[in-house]
């Protein structure tokens, strides 16, 4: 536990300490706010105010990806750039513990992201939370954070052997923008593309969250929440296995320091 906690704290501080403290605010608050606003205005222009609120909630939840995907991938990418990844991998500490430690702060980061997004949605785009089922909404937030972080695990593992993790990260963001019902309902997509959203994190949890904001009972969205958690669990199992495998591949290929 001590190892996990130390990893959590140090890696998170390191992730932002190479930047100025202002950079943390720029990356975690200002940049997501602009991105969020841009997408909501696109929805407002093309689809009207009602759909703009739809996009506002969608983008609030998509902000989870900043903490979960960017944070997780970046924590190892920076080690590579600094030439210290080989030391992290070379230590006797089990790498899964290192990884779990590093994930911890990103849970908080992801929660911060979605909360900030929902506050924007309320303040600037008039999303109405008056009849929201708060207990259910909190549950849906946790389910999305869990599934997104699990998904991020896969890419963090791939980052051990792939040099171009920025490309990987941006491609993953694109998946969420297009397929998960963030900016428009999944039903607007051509039928063959809807399937992609069904197996990605975010889609089901977001659908549940929208219903819960409108006051739905938890029992009516249990299926979506269950699916979100199931998808997250599958990605977590895949990600952790991949992490162990990629660690051995990286050792064999001696590719840890390549960038």
């Amino acid at each position: 536990m001590r190892l996990i906690w130390e990893e959590a704290l140090l890696s998170y501080k390191a992730l932002f300490s190479w930047l100025e403290p202002r950079a943390f605010i720029m990356l975690q608050v200002i940049q997501p706010m602009f991105e969020f606003t841009f997408f909501v205005f696109i929805a407002l222009f093309f689809m009207g105010p009602e759909r703009a609120q739809f996009a506002a909630v969608g983008n609030a939840f998509r902000l989870v990806s900043v903490g979960s995907i960017w944070g997780l991938i970046s924590s190892f990418r920076q080690e590579r750039y600094s030439g210290t990844l080989k030391f992290v991998i070379g230590t006797p500490t089990p790498k899964l513990l290192v990884f779990l430690g590093r994930s911890f702060m990103h849970v908080l980061d992801s929660l911060f992201g979605v909360l900030m997004g929902l506050i924007y949605a309320r303040l600037f785009f008039g999303v109405d939370f008056a009849s929201a089922n708060w207990g259910g909404l909190v549950l849906s937030i946790f389910s999305v954070v869990f599934s997104m972080l699990s998904f991020g695990t896969i890419f963090s593992a791939l980052g051990l052997v792939m040099r171009d993790v920025n490309l990987l990260m941006n491609s993953v963001y694109a998946l969420f923008i297009v397929f998960c019902g963030v900016n428009f309902p999944v039903s607007y997509l051509p039928e063959f593309l809807r399937l992609i959203g069904q197996v990605l994190p975010l889609t089901h949890g977001l659908e549940a969250a929208r219903a819960l904001i409108q006051g739905a009972q938890i029992s009516s969205v249990l299926a979506q929440l269950g699916l979100e958690i199931l998808i997250g669990s599958i990605y977590l199992a895949l990600g952790l296995s991949l992490f162990v495998w990629m660690e051995s591949v990286a050792r064999k290929q001696a590719s840890l320091d390549l960038y």
Binding site: E20, Q31, F38, F45, M47, S171
Partner: protein, 259 residues
């Protein structure tokens, strides 16, 4: 003569070393307009307004263009700094702004490929008819757009040259410009307090001019072109001023290469 020789050499260097071999650059240049044209087209279908198609095509193209320019501009300076060659570039007898200018002109010209991708996606893959009311004027607006992006990115590169967090600034600069210039929607739907900012940005007027040339518009093409060129020239003048100041300041403080 020497001026053009340097410009051409820098342009060639930019193509061979800094842009086309980099996958992340190609992602911004080719994949970003694909994502935006697809997402905005799905939303456009709900609008029921055929004239909005110009927003989809031109907006997606310009987003890819700006995204690739900002990515390349910041990454080039970060790379030079990390390779310890930024000081050497600054110390050569060739003015630093000319070196950067050659590279950024290339970025802006290559950025036109993004517009090509957006046109191709909408015309060929999404099967939408595209008409250009005034092809000649559109070409003129396109030239003004390249000039605008080159001068704006030159101005912004002064920030990148000074800052140790250029990569963060790169992320921070992308979306505000998408939003304020109304890349995918008219700036009139933005809150009124943001509009003066939109008006001070040359790409806002360049986009207006392109839309005018494409759809026939309101007959203000020449006014928009004039504003575009005037603002872009102002950026160019400010860049020259800032570069001279920066050069003097970093020679005194010796902090240019600080990481």
């Amino acid at each position: 003569m020497n001026f053009f020789r340097i410009l051409i050499k820098e342009a060639w260097f930019q193509i061979i070393c800094n842009t086309l071999p980099r996958r992340m650059y190609l992602f911004s240049l080719l994949f970003v307009p694909l994502i935006y044209s697809f997402v905005s087209f799905i939303m456009f279908q709900q609008s029921g307004q055929a004239s909005f198609l110009s927003y989809v095509v031109l907006g997606s193209g310009m987003i890819g263009m700006w995204s690739s320019i900002v990515f390349s501009s910041s990454a080039d300076i970060v790379r030079e700094r990390e390779n310890r060659s930024l000081e050497l570039l600054m110390a050569t007898p060739t003015p630093f702004w000319l070196i950067m200018g050659g590279r950024l002109c290339t970025n802006s010209l290559l950025g036109l490929l993004s517009l090509g991708v957006a046109l191709l996606i909408v015309r060929v893959f999404l099967g939408q008819p595209l008409y250009f009311q005034s092809p000649g004027l559109f070409l003129l607006a396109l030239i003004a757009t390249v000039y605008t992006f080159a001068s704006l990115s030159l101005l912004i590169s002064t920030l990148f040259a000074l800052s140790r967090v250029a990569r963060v600034l790169q992320n921070l600069i992308e979306f505000p410009l998408f939003l304020l210039c109304g890349m995918l929607f008219p700036v009139e739907i933005l809150p009124s307090f943001l509009r003066p900012l939109s008006w001070s940005l040359a790409p806002t007027w360049a986009l207006e001019a392109m839309r005018e040339a494409m759809t026939g518009g309101t007959g203000e093409f020449w006014f928009h072109i004039l504003l575009t060129v005037a603002l872009a020239s102002l950026y160019l003048w400010l860049s020259a001023l800032f570069f001279a100041k920066i050069e003097r300041s970093v020679r005194i403080s010796g902090t240019l290469g600080s990481i």
